[in-house]
């Protein structure tokens, strides 16, 4: 009896661990009314698109999460004369998040990250 309880508990812990380790795979919209940079949540991503409602310049990044607070970029793009900009990972899906920023000042910006193929 005790062995069964322990087995069930261990199984539960393994499932919870897997759920925590495997990031959610869903599209996500994020925005700010006035900011210089904004980030989406960590999930499975390979596409990130940003929009700047305030002026015609913005940059978008895809960050790959290597664990332990360690990240590297798998796509970083800045454009002038634009109001939407996007980048796609060329290493496929990664656990990480998108970021939208601009090089000028605080702005009304929004981002959309998901796992769609480009």
């Amino acid at each position: 009896m005790r062995k069964s309880i322990l087995a069930v508990a261990a199984s539960g812990l393994i499932i919870m661990g897997l759920a925590a380790a495997v990031p959610a795979s869903a599209e996500y919209n994020y925005s700010c009314a006035s900011c210089a940079t904004i980030n989406g949540p960590n999930e499975t991503v390979r596409y990130n698109e940003g929009i700047n409602y305030t002026f015609n310049q913005l940059c978008v990044v895809l960050w790959q999460n290597n664990g332990g607070g360690n990240y590297n970029t798998v796509g970083n793009k800045c454009v002038s004369g634009s109001w939407t900009t996007w980048t796609c990972s060329n290493v496929g899906s990664v656990n990480g998040h998108g970021e939208v920023y601009n090089s000028e000042s605080a702005a009304h910006m929004a981002g959309h990250q998901d796992n769609r193929a480009c």
Binding site: N39, T73, V74, G75, S80, V91
Partner: protein, 205 residues
């Protein structure tokens, strides 16, 4: 007789003024939006797309894009232009880096057609920056200046110029058909990219 003479002069003046306004409107010299007046020029590549040289498949899908044309092929990579019509009319470009990478941008049409669009991207951290310029008709080349003082003149074809810079670029410039210069300080972008640190997921500042 005198009255008839002045009437003739007045009519001639009115006709001349109307003709001048009509010519300006027809040439697009006063075209603009939001009350601003910008000279703007067409982008002919929207109307004569390059033959698809390297891919028999359909153009890669970007949400909301229509009127897609292939404008450049670099090795296995392809660069497209197209339009988005919501919430405003936009001129767009995007690069398909096979098998699955790339990126692009859309600018309001009257802005792209009056001042062009310049992009700088890094597909990987530390990779050489790739510079793309999407410009209206009449822009023949772009000039990229590097931090070390060197410069590169890149010809425009199909309203596009592309260059991968192995040095550190500082500015991208080109001359519009009316003689005005557009200069983009891409060195500031590179500096920002080099020092960018990831924000906490879900945060803004």
């Amino acid at each position: 007789m005198l009255t008839r003479y002045f009437s003739g002069v007045r009519v001639a003046w009115i006709i001349a003024v109307i003709a001048a306004i009509g010519a300006a409107l027809a040439s697009g010299a006063l075209a603009g939006a939001g009350g601003t007046k910008h000279a703007k020029w067409p982008i002919s590549a929207f109307y004569h797309a390059l033959a698809r040289a390297h891919s028999a498949g359909a153009a890669p899908g970007i949400p909301g894009m229509s009127g897609v044309s292939l404008v450049a092929v670099r090795g296995n990579d392809e660069i497209y232009i197209g339009h988005r019509y919501g919430p405003t009319t936009s001129d767009c470009f995007w690069e398909h880096i096979k098998p699955q990478g790339g990126g692009g941008a859309c600018g309001k049409a009257y802005i792209v057609e009056s001042q062009g669009m310049v992009s700088l991207s890094q597909s990987q951290e530390g990779a050489p920056p790739e510079i793309l310029a999407f410009v209206p008709d009449g822009v023949r080349s772009i000039v990229i200046k590097d931090n070390d003082g060197s410069s590169h003149t890149i010809p425009v074809a199909n309203n596009f110029a592309v260059y991968t810079d192995l040095n550190n670029p500082s500015t991208v410039s080109f001359t519009l058909p009316n003689g005005a210069s557009e200069v983009q300080n891409v060195g500031a972008w590179i500096n920002k990219m080099d020092h960018l640190r990831p924000g906490a997921p879900g945060s803004s500042e």
